[in-house]
Structures are given as structure tokens and as C-alpha cells.
């Protein structure tokens, strides 16, 4: 059994046991589903997604709207990030020269001290 138990410093788990557990859970879920009724029509009202009573939009819901709350609360951070990733080559060269200067200062003066 210790062959298949993967232990890091403080955690031990076995991937095969997890797969077995998930397989058992899927089997139980399938059994429960098979006990339902199967007079279910794919087309028509029963097959459409539920929009809380609103009208079904014609061209689908985009997934960009999924994380609106996150984007709204981090607006300042995203403004700064948009300025940083401006797409201009000169800014990119500036960031590289900044990295060189920081590493040089750190290493050269760290070596002297």
C-alpha cells in the first residue's frame, strides 16, 4: 500500500484511492439519475435554459459577464495594469532595463558589502 501513497512533508494521499472514490461517487450519481422519469422532451420549453422568467436572449449569454463583481472591486489595480501592458515596444524595453539595473545594483553592492 505504501507504493501508491504519495507523501510530501506533511501530507499523504493516494491518487488511486481518489480515483476509486470519484468513480464510486459517479456510479451513485448515475444510479440516482436512472431512478428518475424519462418522459423528457429535448425540444420546446423543457429543453431551454432557465433565465428566471426573463426572455431567452437570441444569441446566447456571453461568458465575459461571469466575474463582474471581481472586476468592479479591483478597478484601480486593473487601471494600473492596463497602463503597464500598453503594447508599446519602448515601455517593454524600459521594464527590461529596469530589471537589469535592479539586479546590477543588488548584486554588485551586495557583493561589496
Amino acid at each position: 500500500m505504501s507504493e501508491i501513497i504519495f507523501s510530501t512533508g506533511s501530507v499523504a494521499w493516494s491518487p488511486l484511492m481518489l480515483v476509486a472514490g470519484v468513480a464510486i461517487a459517479i456510479a451513485i450519481a448515475y444510479l440516482v439519475r436512472a431512478m428518475g422519469s424519462n418522459n423528457y422532451k429535448r425540444s420546446g420549453e423543457q429543453g431551454m435554459a432557465f433565465f428566471s422568467g426573463n426572455r431567452h436572449p437570441d444569441d446566447g449569454i456571453g461568458s465575459e459577464n461571469l466575474y463582474w463583481g471581481f472586476f468592479k472591486s479591483m478597478e484601480g489595480y486593473y487601471e494600473f495594469m492596463k497602463k503597464m501592458h500598453s503594447g508599446i515596444v519602448n515601455d517593454y524595453v524600459f521594464w527590461f532595463v529596469l530589471v537589469v539595473v535592479v539586479l546590477l545594483a543588488g548584486m554588485a553592492f551586495g557583493g561589496i558589502l
Binding site: 492596463k82 500598453s86 503594447g87 508599446i88 515596444v89 519602448n90 524595453v93 532595463v97
Partner: protein
């Protein structure tokens, strides 16, 4: 003074970095990179200098006090590589001009 070469290397590298960082025309950025390459090549060749040395060619040499030959080989390799990179960058600049209509670095479409 021997150390004068290294001051020239630093000055050339600074000019090249300034051109790459602050110039908006794409061709000027390519020229800036070429200047940095010239600085690197000058640095490499000047590392091999020995006082009073002659060119490192054995046939018909007057004395055996020669400058080092390895940095000259490294510089040749570097010149050829930078030639290839410059040619490729200039061809990209031509195609950008053909598609975008301008060579301005600020008129970019890939951002964020």
C-alpha cells in the same frame, strides 16, 4: 589610455538603449539595437588587446607578441548573428508598414 575603449563601449550602449527606449519610429528602434550590438562587438574585440601586439596571423609575422585571436572569432560570430536579426526586424517593420500604414510604435493593436 587603455581604459578609453571601455568608456566608448558604455557610451555607445547608453545611446543604443536611449534609442530603443524613447524613439517612436520602428526603424530608429532597429538602429538603436544595432548600436548596442556595435558596443558589444567593440567590447569583445578590445578585450583581446595586448600592449604592442600585432595582428594574430602566423605567416610572415615579425614577432610572436600578438593580440588574442579568440575574441576576434567571437566578434565575427556576433556580427553575423546581429546581421540576421537586423534583417529580420527590418522585414517585420516593412510588413507592419504595409498592414498598418504607419511606422509609429504608438499605433499598436495588441495591448493589455
Amino acid at each position: 589610455m587603455i581604459g578609453f575603449v571601455f568608456l566608448a563601449v558604455i557610451a555607445l550602449a547608453a545611446i543604443g538603449i536611449y534609442a530603443a527606449m524613447f524613439k517612436r519610429n520602428l526603424i530608429k528602434i532597429v538602429v538603436g539595437i544595432n548600436i548596442i550590438a556595435s558596443a558589444a562587438n567593440l567590447f569583445l574585440v578590445s578585450l583581446g588587446y595586448r600592449e604592442g601586439g600585432i595582428a594574430p596571423i602566423f605567416t610572415g609575422a615579425e614577432s610572436l607578441n600578438m593580440v588574442l585571436a579568440t575574441p576576434q572569432a567571437l566578434t565575427l560570430t556576433s556580427i553575423v548573428i546581429n546581421l540576421a536579426v537586423t534583417a529580420l526586424m527590418l522585414s517585420f517593420a516593412i510588413m507592419i508598414y504595409r498592414h498598418y500604414g504607419s511606422l509609429d510604435a504608438l499605433k499598436r493593436r495588441l495591448k493589455e
